[in-house]
């Protein structure tokens, strides 16, 4: 039993496609088996909503009279530094950028209440933002200073372009030391006071297509409440890691670079995020449809939390020192239960990624497809595959 994406799209257009979420697919495959499930189900929708620091948006603000060349100058939006190393009026707002006068971690732990992630959320929300810039002035772009309100509706382009999102699996962070630490995985209490994880597990996109058989470059996705596309594989893509028998990586593996029109997105699905003692980031909503082309795909999309394992990593010493060392592995059913056991100690768990919101995204995408509003795409190229020798390398510091 095999299907093509074209056949599935025909069914979607007629309003006849059978679409279920990755959570619902677990039950269907358990009850009916992969064979029957592959016959009955056309699309499985996935979702994830977690902090993703390698995110940002580029915008084109249009030309003022007289003109200004922002490229090579300095630009701030609501006091947050944005990148201006492009042409005259293109700028990039990085999610983790901060106002120059933010105390950062000088007052430890820093609170990081406002930064690039919040600028993006407010821009999408349609708020007026204050843009200030200084430039060096040229014969063709004489203006040297600019101070204006900007609004997303007046911008030429506003595009979310995230170099790395959607990690396929992630570490569980703990702290073995005897002092509290503040990390991108949240606040970690001393001596195994808590264990924080960050994945939607059985709902997470790349865990439902572990070998990237349907998800590839060009795949149309739910991005930030609008439609987006997979632009490339994400930075630090690392498909060659050890996997379980079911194909699921046992540690962080694949990643995606995604792109989409910010003007269609919703602030609810792009949330500015403040990590105590760490910095600002952006929590991004992503949902990816998986066409059930074969029994094999039906099997992959039926993966459940009990079958997805990840590594427990001590963020007090080995992680910051770049030493990869696991304290053991746990599965997502254990993590979601609220406590896990590490060396005979019961440790409460906390999550950065929202399972509730991941489920909501998978359901929204399901509705879009059922209503014929969202068609599936054939990927134009594959992501680097598990058996390729593509891997994530450390930096070797060389003498200058």
């Amino acid at each position: 039993m095999t299907k093509t994406i074209q056949e599935i799209n025909e069914k979607i257009k007629k309003g006849q496609a059978v679409v279920v979420t990755a959570e619902e697919m677990i039950e269907i495959v358990r009850k009916k088996g992969e064979k029957q499930a592959a016959k009955e189900v056309d699309v499985v929708t996935t979702g994830t909503f977690g902090p993703m620091c390698s995110s940002g948006a580029y915008i084109n603000i249009g030309h003022a009279k007289p003109k200004i060349k922002l490229g090579g100058g300095e630009v701030y939006i609501n006091g947050v530094e944005v990148y201006a190393g492009f042409a005259a009026v293109d700028i990039y707002i990085g999610a983790s950028s901060l106002p120059p006068d933010d105390p950062r971690n000088k007052i430890y732990p820093g609170e990081f209440r406002y930064g690039g992630g919040h600028v993006i959320e407010e821009l999408v929300a349609g708020k007026d933002l204050v843009l200030t810039a200084t430039a060096y002035g040229t014969d063709c772009y004489p203006r040297k200073e600019l101070r204006t309100l900007i609004n997303i509706r007046d911008l030429n382009e506003a595009v979310l372009f995230n170099p790395r999102n959607c990690y396929q699996n992630y570490n569980v962070a703990v702290n073995l030391s005897d002092r509290i630490i503040y990390t991108y995985m949240g606040t970690l209490k001393p001596k195994l006071g808590n264990a924080n994880y960050c994945s939607a597990g059985q709902l997470s996109p790349l865990l439902n297509d572990p070998y990237y058989k349907t998800i590839g470059i060009g795949t149309r996705i739910f991005l930030g409440g609008g439609t987006g596309y997979i632009a490339w594989w994400g930075t630090q893509h690392n498909p060659g890691v050890e996997r379980s028998e079911n194909g699921v990586p046992l540690s962080p593996a694949g990643t995606l670079a995604v792109i989409g029109d910010l003007k269609q997105m919703k602030p609810e699905w792009l949330r500015g995020t403040s990590m105590l003692g760490y910095g600002v980031t952006l929590t991004v909503g992503i949902g990816i449809p998986i066409p059930v082309l074969s029994e094999e795909i039906a099997y992959y999309t039926s993966v459940k939390d009990e079958e997805i394992y990840t590594q427990i990593v001590d963020y007090s010493k080995p992680y910051p020192q770049g030493i990869s060392e696991s304290l053991g592995q746990v599965n997502y059913a254990q993590l979601r239960s609220g406590k896990i056991r590490i060396s005979n100690k019961e440790v409460p768990t906390g999550s950065l990624s929202s399972y509730v919101k991941a489920r909501e995204i998978a359901n929204i995408l399901k509705e879009w497809i059922k209503q014929g509003k969202f068609l599936l795409t054939e990927p134009v190229a594959k992501l680097p595959q598990a058996e390729s020798d593509y891997k994530f390398k450390p930096l070797k510091i060389r003498e200058v």
Partner: protein
Amino acid sequence: MTESKVVLHFPPHLVDKPLIYKLSRDFDLEFNILKASVTPQEEGILVLELKGDDDNFQHAIAYLKENGVDVQALTQDINLNYELCIHCGLCVPICPVSALVKDGETDEVKFVKEKCIACELCGKVCPYNAIEVSLNA
């Protein structure tokens, strides 16, 4: 010497009386105004840090009460803004008294106000500013 933070509720008819002035003039108390506001019902709320001799402190409180002012010790009022909360659960293991709990069925995070001791730890940790701390009695 007593040093304490108190919340004073002034009924509308007392809002413009110089009661606070008396705290320093008649009872020799040092005070710091932490918060002052008037509610839509015209009730005045004043949060003060008071410092002074033990006896004077007691007399001052008695004086305020006699005049119809409601006096309470300050505790922070914590609330979870469900509009902002994404139910990630990052705050759950941080709360020392399990006042933030994840519902095993729905995965939603709930705030159990009766258990909360207003330590404010969750407010610092929540990445989305969903924990609201207000000065209330």
